[in-house]
Amino acid sequence: MPHIWPIGGGKGGTGKSFFTGNLGILLARQGFRTLLVDADLGAPNLHTIVGLSNPAVSLSDFLNKRVAALQDTVLTMPIPNLFLISGAKNKLDIANLAHEQKMKTLRAISRLSYDYILLDLGTGTSFNTIDFFTLSDSGIFVCIPEPTSIENIYRLIRSVYVRKIRQVLKVDRFKELAERAEAQNHDAIIQHPEYLLDMLREMDPEQGGIVENVLKAFQFKLVINQVRRQDNPKVGTLICKIVEKHLGLKIQFLGNVSFDERVHEAVCRRESFVDKYSYSQATLDLRLILKGMTGIADEQAMAL
């Protein structure tokens, strides 16, 4: 069974694609068969991060049945063990993916045979984004230490919370629950999705228990990207504390990735940052994060 790591962040420009691409490269360099999937349906650019200009096939080809299986859209990269499902040639309306197509894609991804599958997700809190993010219980949030990004992370987490409850309950049951919660507190769903669970426990303890167990199964992760010297390095730890304490969700802070102005250059040149600047602090941060996630260290991380 592959480890599936959906990577999301709510807001654009936080470096999700950079993080996904370079983490994938580090995994591949450690010998793991690693598949990167560009699930940012509306604005795919993972192929650019890993240096592929004109991918021959794309996710759309699977959805439009131009290829028989999702595996047929997988591109082998020059870096050994690294593979990519690109979104470069996606149809322009793919972001409005129909429910059936989305479910077909999710099922197909989970059946692929790789050691690690990293999904680079889009921004916002659409159902498509959230459903890709909850394909596994180990979603990774990437944000930057700015209020706009942090606000969007909280919004995304709350959206995941509500979406999960909705998926477990039947439509009319969820509607009844939502109406009762909003009657007590008009912004219950937006600001306090945990009220839904409280209310459900009162209305139906058995169902409440089921939903609670589903939410408890999440093992989210958080990365703070583009951390500058003047930024508080503890922000990630504190965000996790807020989520655990007030939403009751498990979330682990993986670490900070230092800001490096050479990232811009690497992206413009379509080069692998972790290969070109392998001894930069940002690369060392990524290696440490990877070590924390996999329990496996490469030589450079071991030397830290």
């Binding site: 209020p147 942090i150 909280y154 508080n232 504190l238």
Partner: protein, 212 residues
């Protein structure tokens, strides 16, 4: 996940029931930085009202646990309710841990808000009020107030940028260690200001004992 209203003061401050006032102050400071309105980490998570409610609960917990009598009374209530074991109560004569809270990422605004909170504690703490009723103030008096607030000299030194040797000298009434009377007044003002006391009053009452 338990609601905030269901937590006792120790759980609210995330400390064990037998910790020292110093550790309570440190815990309060950490949580204050998390929940105050300028906190980046909790930005947008709470409404203004919710934030104030949480801070008010933290203040109540802090004020209770930092006052020896109030804390003892509160602990007794917890013991009677079966929540606290008698042997897990704080013993005053235990040595305080030398945790030094880092002020590196506390900005001036945060320090100001903490000072406001300390002022509130000063006004409600019976031991401190008794000390402040003295006409003159000794170094030992200032130390007693500082101990009641659970504030360390290291914390004061780090924030107000006065060397420890001078702060020690103030508390030990070793006036001759200050470079001059003007410097002594300045150090006293900074010390008093940090722990929420009226600097003018402290300077006047402390220096009353020193001959010109």
């Amino acid at each position: 996940m338990r609601k905030l209203n269901d937590l006792n003061f120790y759980e609210l401050l995330e400390v064990a029931s037998d910790v020292s006032p110093f550790e309570i102050h440190h815990a309060y400071k950490e949580l204050f930085q998390l929940y105050h309105e300028d906190s980046l980490a909790s930005y947008s998570f709470f409404s203004g009202e919710e934030r104030e409610e949480i801070l008010a609960k933290l203040d109540e917990a802090y004020a209770t646990l930092m006052d020896e009598k109030k804390r003892s009374h509160y602990d007794q209530q917890l013991i009677e309710r079966g929540i606290l074991e008698e042997e897990r109560q704080y013993q005053r004569d235990r040595k305080q841990l030398s945790l030094i809270p880092s002020a590196k990422h506390s900005n001036a605004d945060t320090a100001l808000k903490i000072r406001d909170r300390l002022k509130m504690i000063v006004s409600s703490n019976s031991v401190i009020q008794e000390v402040l009723s003295h006409e003159a103030l000794t170094g030992a008096d200032l130390k007693r107030i500082r101990d009641e607030l659970g504030v360390s000299l290291e914390e004061i030194a780090e924030t107000v940028k006065v060397r420890m040797v001078y702060l020690h000298a103030i508390e030990e009434d070793q006036f001759e260690k200050a470079p001059s009377r003007i410097f002594l007044k300045g150090f006293l003002r900074a010390y008093a200001h940090y722990i929420g006391l009226d600097p003018d009053s402290v300077v006047t009452r402390y220096l009353k004992r020193i001959k010109n």
